[in-house]
């Protein structure tokens, strides 16, 4: 049993019949459910309702639904996104920082592929000259080295997937006590994330390999065959 006291000083004894977790500590600690009539009586506001919460199957539809309700009933309707706009802005900032860090890592990895293919082009100058003398076109040679970069990127993607899966398994097993409850790191293990990582890596790997590949294609066989280089 608990004693509930209204702002007016009226009190009432209430029996707790269940505990509800709202998934949000701030909301969870400051709200509760009781019979409507009991609440109206406690607050001395019979027949009055000052807020209606609507639970949606798709939470991301809250904004258009709030707008439609506002249009229809001429009462203010507020979506959870509008109410938590400060918090959501924080999440956007976090995502921007995360993607900036990921992009920086991708850039470093691209430089790795660029260096590997550049070294390969430098090592294979003689072979390039031979292939050119046999009749391979500039496009053929460009393709050879772009494929080399792509192969490195594919190997990187497979290794990255394996490492990422392993790291997520470790992170997922960690538990943190928050407000007396054990919480886990929220992880997005969807196929979409794997696909984004693969496409970004393959694209950056191809571009990184394409630059030295162009250089390879422009090798003049006569310079090498003459032994000038």
């Amino acid at each position: 049993m608990v004693n509930a006291t209204a702002a007016s000083g009226a009190t009432r004894s209430l029996r707790i019949v269940g505990l509800v977790k709202k998934g949000n500590t701030m909301l969870g600690q400051s709200s509760g459910y009781m019979l409507l009539r009991e609440a109206q009586s406690l607050l001395n506001r019979p027949f009055i309702i000052n807020r209606i919460g609507v639970r949606l199957t798709d939470p991301y539809a809250a904004e258009p639904v709030a707008h439609a309700l506002e249009q229809r009933y001429a009462y203010k309707a507020e979506s959870w996104q509008e109410r938590s706009s400060d918090f959501l802005a924080l999440l956007v900032t976090r995502n921007v920082i995360m993607y900036a860090v990921v992009s920086a890592i991708l850039l470093v990895a691209s430089f790795g592929i660029y260096t590997a293919v550049s070294n390969s082009v430098a090592d294979k100058r003689r072979d390039i000259a031979i292939l050119r003398s046999i009749g391979f076109s500039q496009g053929d040679l460009q393709l050879v080295f772009v494929l080399e970069g792509l192969a490195l990127a594919v190997a990187g993607v497979l290794l990255g997937w394996a490492l990422g899966t392993g790291l997520m398994a470790i992170l997922g097993s960690l538990r943190f006590p928050v407000s007396g409850e054990e919480q886990r790191v929220p992880l997005d293990r969807s196929t979409r994330q794997y696909l984004i990582a693969a496409i970004a890596s393959l694209l950056s790997g191809t571009i990184a390999a394409w630059l030295p590949a162009r250089k390879a294609a422009r090798v003049d066989p006569v310079d090498i065959l003459r032994g000038a280089i």
Partner: protein
């Protein structure tokens, strides 16, 4: 008299610089099919430079290079590559085989790029070519497991893969002992006389030059003598 395989007219190659250096000067030449032509002359006289011009590896500063009456000099880099792929075969002083590939794969390379044959036919043709240069049984060996003479014969088989009308050799026996050198020259002579191909070789070796049907002597970038030999 048969039509020449390749004709040059006023072929000149000058390297830019101060002063410019003329490697090949005003060369008029007709390379005949079915004949083994040797280009001879002292070191630095422009023999290899002329060969690279004939083989479309280098581009002349002026003059014309005609194949079947078509002037090849204005062709783009890829256009010249196409002509090399379809009509020319090269053998260099160093075998220049791709070390990661086996003898068979090296010979298959131009065949695959040419695309006239596919699948097993490519391998069959490459095997035939290796057998024709006496390398049956060594198809799957990488270049580093072959002797110098064998590597050069793989290079010849590779040069023949596209069934070229013109075979160009830049000191192809320069790194070989006398026995292997003689075998390679025998092959070149046979390619010219028995298969009707035009074979052009740059050489220092006067023994090889004496076996040629035509001897082209060069000095200071100029052709000073073209001699038909019995």
């Amino acid at each position: 008299m048969t039509a020449p395989a390749l004709t040059t007219s006023g072929l000149t190659r000058t390297l830019p610089g101060d002063p410019p250096v003329t490697l090949v000067h005003d060369v008029d030449l007709a390379i005949q099919p079915g004949k083994f032509t040797a280009i001879v002359g002292p070191s630095g006289c422009g023999k290899s430079s002329l060969l690279y011009l004939l083989g479309l590896i280098d581009r002349p500063t002026s003059g014309q290079l005609l194949l079947d009456g078509q002037d090849l000099t204005p062709l783009s880099g890829d256009g010249r590559a196409q002509i090399r792929l379809r009509h020319f075969g090269f053998v260099f002083q160093f075998h220049f085989l791709l070390p990661e590939f086996t003898a068979l794969e090296n010979v298959e390379l131009p065949l695959r790029r040419l695309g006239k044959l596919t699948g097993n036919a490519v391998t069959r043709r490459a095997n035939e070519l290796l057998a024709s240069v006496g390398l049956a049984g060594k198809e799957h060996k990488p270049p580093d497991k072959l002797s110098g003479g064998e590597r050069q014969r793989v290079a010849i088989a590779r040069a023949l893969a596209n069934d070229p009308r013109l075979i160009l050799g830049d000191e192809p026996t320069g790194n070989l002992d006398s026995t292997n050198s003689a075998r390679v020259v025998d092959l070149f002579v046979a390619l010219a006389h028995e298969q009707g191909r035009a074979v052009v070789c740059v050489t220092h070796d006067m023994g090889i030059a004496e076996r040629a049907d035509v001897r082209v002597s060069m000095l200071d970038g100029r052709v000073v003598e073209v001699k038909e030999q019995g």
